[in-house]
């Protein structure tokens, strides 16, 4: 009977507190932990909105989109925060998102012009390694070396897909050959970022696919300068994380207000040291100390949204072919 008491408790808990307007924001898991941006964002927004901000965490960006597609127009979400540029085309296609008026003075490595999604942070994918180790200059040098890397599976992980697009954007038709040459450097492929980064920290590989901003975490939060990101001559693939509001939302004004808040200083200043990404709009006080030590890629690579889907499928087939041998 514990079971029933349990269920009853939950119903009561959700039945209360319907007085103030509620804004429901779907996001990914790491956003809502106490070290993520979630708590600070909630506190700052609730100070001004006279509302309750609820986060619902659903895996990562791709899991978020899958959940939205399952729920369709009946979704409780007013805002979705955490899709990236590999997902925006599919997200747009669902027709679930409403256009937004918001514009801001973005500091992105690429021009941004979108009437539905607003960017809130961004980063470069990069291989992170021990600072005292000479890092390769590009993928080809990495492939020739004996260095061991751990990467994420593009079928189950956002960074994994990012790497796939990175190699494709840099090498085009030669991407399959690059993967074949890289095969003996890859210790293993993991389901998600956490497993791969954990393996790297435990010394299972020399380098791990992550972000150029990852060393900033170790510098700022752990006072540890032993991690570095390798700068590759081909340029680095960009991940831009975006948010959008749902057309079926019963709080359209509040949702728009939240999107506006997302490009303001209050939100943007939280991002660098909680989400460990670059803010989409540099806050007035600038970037925190520690970010100045990060590598600056020479070139930013990004496959446009309308080609991303087709490129993704070809690149995955090449990746599977090269690594399954």
């Amino acid at each position: 009977m514990k079971y029933l008491a349990f269920a009853a408790g939950i119903f009561c808990a959700t039945g209360l507190a319907a007085e103030t307007p509620e804004l429901t924001v779907y996001t990914y898991d790491s956003f809502v932990t106490e070290w993520g941006p979630g708590p600070a964002v909630k506190a700052a927004f609730e100070e001004t909105c006279g509302c309750t901000l609820n986060f619902v965490a659903a895996g990562d960006g791709a899991a978020l989109l899958a959940r939205l597609r399952l729920e369709g127009a009946r979704t409780e979400a007013d805002v979705v925060l955490g899709l990236d540029t590999n997902l925006t085309a599919a997200a747009r296609e669902t027709g679930l998102f409403a256009p937004t008026e918001i514009e801001a003075d973005y500091d992105l490595p690429v021009a941004w012009d979108d009437d539905t999604f607003i960017p809130y942070d961004w980063g470069y994918f990069a291989f992170v390694h021990a600072a005292d180790m000479p890092a390769p200059q590009d993928f080809l040098e990495l492939a020739r070396s004996d260095l061991k890397i751990v990467i994420q599976d593009p079928r189950s992980s956002t960074p994994g897909l990012g790497l796939l697009m990175w190699v494709k954007a840099a090498y085009g038709d030669d991407a399959a050959q690059v993967w074949t040459d890289l095969a003996d450097n890859i210790v293993t492929v993991t389901k998600g970022w956490s497993e791969a980064y954990g393996l790297f920290l435990d010394g299972e590989a020399d380098m791990v696919l992550s972000y150029t901003t990852s060393p900033a975490y170790h510098i700022i939060a752990e006072d540890d300068t032993t991690k570095d990101a390798a700068s590759f001559d081909e340029g680095h693939y960009v991940q831009i994380e975006v948010a959008g509001r749902l057309a079926a939302s019963d709080q359209p004004e509040l949702a728009e207000q939240f999107l506006n808040f997302m490009v303001s200083d209050a939100f943007q200043s939280v991002i660098p040291t909680t989400n460990w990404m670059y803010p989409a709009v540099t806050p007035a006080q600038g970037l925190p100390k520690g970010f100045d030590a990060l590598v600056e890629p020479r070139e930013a690579l990004l496959i446009p949204e309308d080609q991303a889907q087709a490129t993704r499928d070809t690149a995955l087939a090449e990746w599977l072919g090269a690594l399954s041998r």
Binding site: A7, D29, E34, T188, Y197, G198, G203, L320
Partner: protein
């Protein structure tokens, strides 16, 4: 065989439970299929995933069970200080979230692990763990404890009188093997093989990580890809059906192979062994137990060592999540017993095939597809987050059901066989038989099954990720979320907390069951 046509206790509620489970699974799968929008069918990549899945699952099951027999035999015929505690600890890998257990495993066997480091000092190359053998190693690591417990149960179910008789006729170890142990193994092993095969069929993160890349793509990963990469629900459901067919095929084979007569009545005396006192056999058993303990406990030691530093940094959310997990685990154990006991009774009174097959469904159905199906069913009616805990408790109970049935059915069958006739001749009503004869005799197994169910539920990441919002996370989900936010040390502390709580829960139930059984 008059008692079989009119059993001493009705199998009805067990059959109803089996049908309800099958109906729930069918509804969930049906919901996923219903929401599917004409995707592509199964491609060549899916077929090679199928091949890899079956081969690795079969090899993993065979190796796990082959190794479990000597370990269980050694544990069955030796009494030593801390034996009970050792058996509990040996079960730890099975109840941990896979990601945590794998990190422990790699701390020992990885490129930078203890063995590789030792080899490096001696001037050798590090161990190469990633590959097919790595997948099998990890699956044996997870399933050897389970296989050992199932086989050990088989030994425990041989009545003490048999060994007494064997000693009186001066039967040596070889004769005992032939007369008592082989027939027991013939009955126990096929079921153990089928269960472990089913567990390994739905493996995904471990197979990929230890397999070293996309060569190690399992059906579950293909389902994951269909769901989140292609949003092709039709293919996800099709692949889930393939998993079910494979599991049920294995189960039917096991049922057919596992048939045989029981050992008849005993008086439930404690077992004493007179045949295994030789020095050689003692040394052999000591060696086997030491090796198994080292294999299973060293990675646990690594988890403890990693976690100690993180314990002081545990955030409040981790303790809240631990509370949630304890509640879900207790509820899950209760649901498990409500399902498993009637089903075990039904199996003992002649409905074995129906019940065991339905029981295996919980393992056979991909948790992603099951969770998605339940999500689709619940979403139009209520907020899925409100159902996060009940759904998790239910799904966890279904996942533990095959194990509970394997634990409960053989002794239940034995009790019905040995005590049923007497009870019938006394015209004892079914409920009285349950209360006075069956339940007291199954105490030990009920405790074991409930403990296993609770511990499994504690460690399962499963469907909660689909349902939970920020405040309803379970401990494994919270650990995973912290890892995703660079908090590896806090996550390691959480893993240690989980390990301790799971084992404590398991040990408590196991102890509650055994306490009166031994009296």
């Amino acid at each position: 065989m008059a008692w079989r046509t009119q059993p001493v206790i009705s199998p009805r509620s067990g059959v109803v439970a089996a049908i309800a489970i099958a109906a729930l699974m069918a509804a969930a799968l049906g919901a996923v299929l219903w929401r599917a929008e004409g995707g592509r069918g199964l491609g060549p990549a899916d077929w090679s995933a199928l091949r890899f899945t079956v081969v690795q699952a079969a090899v993993s099951a065979l190796v796990s069970v082959a190794l479990a027999v000597p370990v269980a035999r050694a544990l069955a015929r030796r009494q030593f200080m801390g034996r009970g505690l050792l058996i509990t600890l040996l079960g730890a890998p099975f109840i941990l979230p896979v990601i945590v257990a794998v990190i422990g495993l790699l701390a020992v066997f990885g490129r930078n692990g203890w063995i590789s480091t030792a080899l490096g000092w001696a001037g050798f190359e590090p161990v190469h763990i990633y590959g097919f053998h790595g997948v099998v190693l990890a699956h044996v690591f997870f399933n050897l404890p389970l296989a050992t417990r199932l086989v050990l149960q088989g030994w425990a179910d041989i009545p003490a009188e048999r060994f007494l008789l064997a000693a009186q006729v001066n039967a040596d170890a070889r004769a005992i093997r032939r007369l008592l142990e082989f027939p027991m193994l013939r009955q126990v092993l096929p079921g153990a093989l089928a269960v472990i095969f089913a567990v390994c069929l739905t493996s995904f993160a471990v197979a990929l990580m230890l397999g070293g890349g996309p060569r190690a793509t399992t059906i579950e990963l293909a389902i994951y890809q269909a769901f989140r990469f292609d949003f092709d629900l039709g293919r996800a459901a099709l692949l889930a059906l393939v998993q079910i067919a494979l599991t049920l095929g294995a189960a039917l084979m096991a049922l057919r192979l596992g048939r045989g007569d029981g050992f008849g009545a005993g008086l439930d005396r404690p077992v004493r062994r007179w045949d295994a006192n030789g020095l050689g056999l003692r040394a052999l058993d000591a060696g086997v137990i030491t090796l198994a303990a080292a294999f299973l406990l060293l990675p646990m030691g690594a988890i403890v060592a990693n976690g100690l530093a993180g314990l002081s940094a545990l955030p409040n959310s981790m303790f809240r999540a631990a509370g949630v997990s304890l509640g879900v685990a207790l509820a899950s154990a209760a649901v498990l017993l409500l399902l498993a006991l009637p089903m075990a009774i039904a199996a003992a009174t002649g409905r074995a095939a129906t019940v065991e097959t339905a029981g295996l469904l919980g393992l056979a159905v991909s948790s992603l597809v099951l969770g998605t199906g339940l999500f689709i069913l619940i979403h139009p009616i209520a907020s899925p987050a409100a159902f996060a805990w009940p759904v998790t408790a239910l799904v966890n109970a279904l996942m533990a059901l095959p194990f509970a049935l394997r634990i409960l059915i053989p002794p239940a069958r034995e009790v019905v066989r040995t005590q049923g006739r007497l009870a019938q001749s006394l015209a004892m009503p079914g409920l009285s038989f349950l209360r006075l004869v069956l339940l007291p005799r199954l105490r030990r197994q009920i405790g074991f099954a409930a403990g296993l169910g609770a511990a499994l539920s504690m460690g399962d990441l499963g469907v909660i990720a689909l349902f939970a919002d920020a405040d309803r996370a379970t401990l494994p989900l919270q650990i995973y979320r912290l890892m995703g936010a660079y908090q590896m040390q806090a996550a390691a502390g959480g893993a240690l907390l989980l390990l301790v709580l799971s084992l404590a829960l398991f040990r408590t139930f196991d102890w509650l069951g055994a306490r009166h059984a031994d009296a």
